[in-house]
């Protein structure tokens, strides 16, 4: 049995003129435990919408999202979600942000040692008492990652967590995510429009078409871990994904 089963999912939104716009059209795919799957496609293809359906933050108009054969109806701590802008609580220190989930689920006597461990793992030592606005974007994103992963979710949903970062920081966070994935074997789904990122990290890449979002192809990544961003195989596979994203339409600008 798959960990995640997405079946015949449709999502329709109503725009400002009252028009019903299909955003996701007949989405079907499964994710196995321990997998790293990337959802890739141009802006507006509904990849974030799909991730929100998986988390339970939104509901599909038709079709089902099941985790462990149970229908997803609302957000749950077993499905972590990292937002594009981290959305750390600005009124909590970095440490209190990381321990926020533990505090509310385990009460006052939550596992402090576990918090220390994740602060170390994410390289945030020395910044525990800083407030989010006082740390860099990269550090904030590490803290956001720690905040979700510390809850040991069975599924971690990453919504373009590197999207707002500069190239250096982005590569750094990619490595952090890779390390965490290797160490914890948490199943992860990453939404991105960065082909490099998807190729570098994932077992499988789900290529989506623009509105209405449909799955064009699910590509298995043949490259062994750890991956070299400059190896010939990497670049070749990267080109393969790039070609699939171009959709043959001449006016389509591929995302990258």
């Amino acid at each position: 049995m798959s960990l995640l089963e997405v079946k015949a999912v449709n999502r329709i939104l109503t725009d400002n003129n009252g028009q019903r716009v299909p955003v996701l059209n007949n989405i079907n795919f499964d994710v196995e435990p321990g997998e790293f799957v990337s959802l890739i496609g141009p802006s507006g293809c509904g990849k974030t919408t799909l991730l929100r359906l998986i988390s339970g933050l939104d509901q599909p108009e038709s079709g089902t999202v099941k985790v462990n054969d149970k229908l997803v109806t609302k957000p749950d701590v077993s499905r972590g979600y990292v937002f594009q802008h981290g959305s750390l609580f600005p009124w909590f220190s970095i440490r209190d942000n990381i321990s926020a989930g533990l505090r509310v689920t385990q009460g006052r006597h939550f596992d402090q040692a576990l918090v220390d461990q994740y602060i170390d793992l994410m390289g945030l030592k020395g910044f525990e008492s800083a407030f989010p606005h006082q740390v860099s974007g990269g550090m904030a994103q590490r803290a956001a990652l720690a905040r979700s992963i510390i809850m040991h979710p069975e599924l971690l949903l990453l919504d373009e967590p590197m999207g707002a970062l500069d190239a250096f920081t982005r590569a750094d966070i990619q490595n952090v995510i890779y390390r965490v994935w290797q160490q914890t074997k948490t199943t992860m789904i990453l939404v991105t429009h960065d082909i490099d990122e998807a190729v570098y990290l994932s077992n499988r890449i789900i290529v989506m078409t623009p509105r209405p979002g449909q799955i064009k192809e699910i590509v298995t990544n043949p490259l062994p871990y750890p991956r070299q961003r400059t190896s010939d195989e990497f670049l070749k596979f990267r080109q393969q994904i790039q070609d699939k994203l171009n959709f043959g339409a001449k006016d389509q600008v591929a995302a990258s």
């Binding site: 988390s55 933050l57 609302k74 957000p75 749950d76 701590v77 499905r79 972590g80 979600y81 937002f83 802008h85 959305s87 609580f89 600005p90 009124w91 909590f92 926020a100 989930g101 509310v104 689920t105 030592k125 020395g126 910044f127 008492s129 800083a130 407030f131 989010p132 606005h133 006082q134 905040r147 979700s148 809850m151």
Partner: protein
């Protein structure tokens, strides 16, 4: 790394200080400000007085003022902390205070251009405060106590209603139209009714002051709650927060900046209501003291009470300001 964070925070603090206290340290201005206060002392001591007044208390005041300035300037000269930024910044303002003291002293008690009983010198106010010290002290405590109780009641009520109306659509739908119509009524309009409805005048006063407070607080709280980014609520849900925890850890801290705007708005209204309600119904308090002084035609007492109010309300304002700075220290300093 720990020390680098600490260093950075010190730098931020210094930066903030330099922004708030931006006037440069100037020994010339420091000396000049001390001289103007000293001149105020000399002027009062040397120019013959035309009105009856005991200038001792004024002399003590000026002496203390000069001593204070010399102490902070010396500390500022040898250290580089907050005292230097603060005292250096206000040196010029202190000079202006010295000059104003001289002018008011000359036109009142010295030359009687603005004369008793309607105009008094600062020295006469200080003398009055000294003479009425016990009564004024009791009045001040009484006013402070009444204000504090009423303000807390009104603020809590406002925050509570605001949180509910901001967070829950149903509550907002049923309550807000009524509360909006009630809240817009000036508290003073209820005065004749409260005097007869409430069993004690104290309760009536608490009601009136709290009434002037709750609405601005509630109104700003609603806006504050509704302005919180939905990302925080969604993050909280994926982290296992219950509704109660969301209210406690997301809604309240998220709305706090707006709540404080409401609190500061309400503060001015509450001082007004405090004085008015004490003038009408009370037998103690600074408002009552003013009313009583008016009755016996002693306007120096009115000035004395006004001077104490200026001090008292400034202190309250400063305290709430400090509380705000402390509770909202998570906000970006460069906001």
């Amino acid at each position: 790394m720990q020390s680098s964070v600490k260093q950075e925070r010190q730098l931020i603090q210094q930066h903030e200080r330099e922004r708030n206290y931006w006037k440069k340290w100037s020994i010339g201005w420091n000396v000049f400000s001390v001289l103007t206060i000293a001149l105020a002392y000399l002027e009062n001591a040397l120019v013959p007085t035309q009105e009856t007044v005991d200038n001792r208390y004024y002399h003590w005041f000026l002496g203390a003022y000069i001593a204070y300035l010399i102490i902070v300037y010396v500390i500022g000269q040898v250290t580089h902390g907050g005292v230097r930024s603060y005292s250096g910044h206000f040196a010029q303002l202190n000079s202006s205070i010295g000059i104003l003291l001289i002018i008011q002293d000359l036109i009142t008690e010295k030359f009687a251009l603005m004369a008793l009983p309607f105009f008094v010198s600062f020295a006469q106010i200080l003398q009055q405060i000294h003479e009425d010290a016990k009564l004024l002290w009791e009045s001040t405590l009484s006013s402070l106590g009444l204000w504090a109780v009423s303000f807390v009641v009104g603020t809590l009520l406002g925050v509570f209603l605001g949180l509910f109306m901001g967070r829950y659509r149903q509550f907002n739908y049923w309550a807000f139209p009524y509360l909006k119509v009630i809240g817009i009524i000036p508290a003073a309009a209820w005065m004749p009714l409260t005097m007869v409805i409430f069993p004690t005048s104290y309760m009536a006063e608490v009601f009136l002051i709290a009434f002037s407070v709750w609405f601005p607080v509630a109104f700003m709280t609603i806006g504050g709650v509704q302005g919180i980014s939905k990302d925080y609520f969604e993050s909280a849900k994926t982290l296992g927060f219950s509704e109660f925890q969301i209210v406690r850890k997301i809604v309240i801290p998220g709305a706090l900046p707006s709540i404080f705007i409401g609190v500061f708005t309400a503060m001015g209204l509450s001082f007004t209501m405090l004085v008015i309600s004490e003038m009408i119904g009370a037998k103690v308090g600074l408002g009552w003291y003013i009313n009583w002084a008016k009755g016996v035609g002693n306007y120096t007492q009115v000035y004395a009470a006004i001077a104490i109010m200026a001090l008292l309300f400034s202190v309250i304002f400063a305290v709430i300001n400090k509380v705000e700075a402390r509770l909202l220290r998570w906000r970006d300093a460069g906001r």
